[in-house]
């Protein structure tokens, strides 16, 4: 009788990704792409019809996520603008508003 065993090792193909920036943060598009990668994983060997549909959906998802991330950034800047303005830092608040 064979005894089932648990496999807990990292596969040789496992790869952790590192993304970095220079003198800036990530753009909404870059973050949206990371987010879409978490939501949708498409195998290269999947049925071509399903694979193409999934890729098209992923492209659309990235655009939608990017748009709403930009909306969130704008809204957060409004909050920061008001916080700075109310604290008497009008010049700094104006700088944030113009970003």
């Amino acid at each position: 009788m064979s005894v089932p065993s648990l496999n807990l090792d990292i596969t040789p193909t496992f790869k952790v990704d590192v993304k970095t920036t220079e003198n800036r943060g990530f753009t909404p598009e870059e973050v949206a792409e990371r987010c879409a990668d978490k939501v949708i994983s498409i195998s290269d060997t999947a049925n071509p019809i399903i694979r193409d549909q999934a890729r098209a959906f992923k492209t659309h998802l990235i655009k939608v996520l990017s748009f709403y991330m930009k909306e969130a950034i704008k809204s957060d800047r409004t909050t920061v603008y008001n916080a700075l303005s109310n604290a008497g830092h009008k010049d700094l608040a104006e700088l944030i508003r113009r970003m």
């Binding site: 496992f14 952790v16 990704d17 970095t20 220079e22 990668d37």
Partner: protein, 150 residues
């Protein structure tokens, strides 16, 4: 070059049998520390070490950052767990790899401090310059999740 691949630490496998690690969201605190290419980390690594860790400052704090656990789940016959991506913002960091370790293990059956979980090899030095340094974990599914029991 001391990093030579990704490893599930051997002592981690044993510690699972002792119930040392609880990956439920809000349970144990798992941290990720960054290391330079001089670090020697592999399957034999048993615990967190400060040796050859990225220097404190410039957006990095010694000991690394706490990860956000995604509670374990199952996909088919595979159990898996995941962490949220970790970003060191406004940082200037050069790192070749990382160590994930448990800073709040259950020591009921075994005496361990900051036991190691996984060694990550970035494949090459990765550098952020007054920018963001992000470790992106793979998709949390039965084929790709960072910790899977099949």
């Amino acid at each position: 070059m001391a990093f030579n691949g990704n490893f599930m630490c051997t002592t981690f496998k044993k510690e699972l049998m002792f119930g040392v690690h609880d990956f439920a969201n809000g349970a144990d605190t798992f941290k990720i520390a960054l290391y330079t290419s001089s670090a020697t980390l592999n399957a034999s690594t048993t615990a967190y070490t400060t040796s050859n860790q990225v220097a404190n400052g410039n957006g990095y704090s010694t000991g690394g950052e706490s990860l956000t656990n995604v509670s374990p789940t199952v996909s088919g016959t595979t159990a898996l767990t995941d962490f949220a991506d970790e970003t060191w913002g406004s940082s200037s960091i050069t790192a070749r790899g990382a160590l994930i370790y448990n800073s709040t293990p259950n020591t009921t059956s075994i005496s361990v401090t900051n036991p190691s979980v996984i060694v990550l090899d970035f494949g090459a030095d990765k550098t952020s310059t007054t920018g963001d340094f992000t470790v992106v974990f793979p998709t949390a599914d039965a084929s790709n999740a960072i910790i899977r029991i099949a």
